[in-house]
Symmetry: C2
Subunit: 354 residues, 2 copies
Amino acid sequence: MTAPVSGPVLVIGSGLIGASVGLALRRAGVQVWLDDVDAVAVAEAVDRGAGEPWRPDAGQPRLVVVAVPPDVAGPAMARAGDFPDATVTDVTSVKAEPLAEARAAGADPRRLVGGHPMAGRETSGAAAARHDLFDDRVWVISPLAESDPQRVEDVRDLVVTCGAVPVMMAPEDHDRAVALTSHAPQLLSSLLAARLLDADPDAVAVSGQGLRDMTRIAGSDPRLWQSILNSNADSVADVLEAFARDLEGAITRLRQREDLGDALARGVQGQRRIPGKHGATATAYDLVPVIIKDEPGELARLFVAAGGLEVNLEDVRIDHVLGKPSGLVELSVRPEATTRLVEGLRALGFDVRA
Amino acid sequence: MTAPVSGPVLVIGSGLIGASVGLALRRAGVQVWLDDVDAVAVAEAVDRGAGEPWRPDAGQPRLVVVAVPPDVAGPAMARAGDFPDATVTDVTSVKAEPLAEARAAGADPRRLVGGHPMAGRETSGAAAARHDLFDDRVWVISPLAESDPQRVEDVRDLVVTCGAVPVMMAPEDHDRAVALTSHAPQLLSSLLAARLLDADPDAVAVSGQGLRDMTRIAGSDPRLWQSILNSNADSVADVLEAFARDLEGAITRLRQREDLGDALARGVQGQRRIPGKHGATATAYDLVPVIIKDEPGELARLFVAAGGLEVNLEDVRIDHVLGKPSGLVELSVRPEATTRLVEGLRALGFDVRA
């Protein structure tokens, strides 16, 4: 653990992320000033204990965290540069465009370091803020080529003080990465879910878990995603164009009854690249299916049994079934624990379908 | 509950599905004969208790279930029609093409009724068969226009005897439905996962739960899916062409920095059409996030607590976090139970982040 970041820290923007940064820093004893164009938001964040309201005569901040939406982050970072010796960072989910806008508006690139905590909630506003929102989460740090190394260290101290795991990535690399792993998948999920609007109700009735998985993120807030997609439009479009070419190729091969086996096999390989638990390379877990009654306490009984067998469950999936009050629960366990779990649960009378 | 299906039932194909049909019918006391081009597969299914081996002098089956891969199901159904009064059905995941091939090979359409149980396992073969594989699952029944109503009733009896929920759907409707809800999503998932192969390892490191959800089914068996996609190629291509048009429109709008809000909003609406638990319309569940230590027994402690509070968990998602031995568990509960769960868990010392 490095030292806590040196304060005072000025947080501009007192929404969910800004107020959570304040709470996380206050938890570590760092002095925090809060600002927002909306005085009510500041009052709410102060009330939550995220810091003191910013006043022009308060003094000079050592670090400024700009926590406003992507489309206004650039100018806000430039204004923050008016503090003569402050390090300036932001927390928006797109990096290159806001940083370029900050420079265009006159920000000093030596004191500017971009940031993106990979954390959020379905809700927004200071009322939803939490001191532990960033605990154990990746927080990407995106320096400019001109960023002073000591300024990068300041931001690293901020990240660690907030409980997060710093990952260094150039702004353009960050934006290309999240375009591929987050922004393009979001739009694909939305477009797939939207296809269901024209479908017959009977057709949608035969939906399985695969479709549910693929459309879950389609339920996200359209306004927020509109803003994110717009700020990273070209990187997202690049990913989607490559995807569209692959898709056109697959459609042609389907129409001509040609083999798609290699495209499917490439999917298997690609999926294996996604990091698993705790950022490690994905482990091939065994799936142990168990049928349980759909009643309070039934999952508890199952997990008590697994705990009693000293088996750590890596993941749990509940696959609901039609028509009857029962559920299929799939337990993911390390292969070396599978036999112990299966035999132990059966001995306890569980309906294990392994 | 209707009466058990009238036997004897001849099951052609003694793999996972065929042997499971045999086990489910034997459970209900129905006489079952098993056949397969592979005598070892028959022996294995017989050994599991799925029925007796078929012999030409055994007598006349009342019902024939063709449980062979889609590309050979049509001719097998035609041959099954040689039994003078048997109802003939199949269990393949595509309907129109195999049924058309059966008719082309001389099958009597009055005695022919297609079927598709929406059940399966990651493993295959009679050794993996289960008597309860179809319990509570949708089993689509796809009559031809010429199918005799009594033959349709025979297949309905088969479905109910196997423990499944019958859903009537014309073959072409079935194929269009599964193209939309299963086959096209499978290919989209594979193509998205394959895009990760060209990506920098650092880029893949910022993957979140959204990407994991969208690529889970990309891990499925390429050979099986190659066969399914080939047998339903035009319906899948139709869905993907409509999707590709939407995608091209979205890319154009991204490049021109035009608003995508309505496409995202349509995604939200489409996602809401997917049936939820037990085939009901999706309920908006509340998500209750809880941080637990990543140790044996921790999930158990959480579920015991939820059970003790008499809260039924509708779904569970474990969102692994980076760098530290802890996990974020999201509990889905009916909105009316949320306050009881949150306050109850907090009173018990749980780190609830609602």
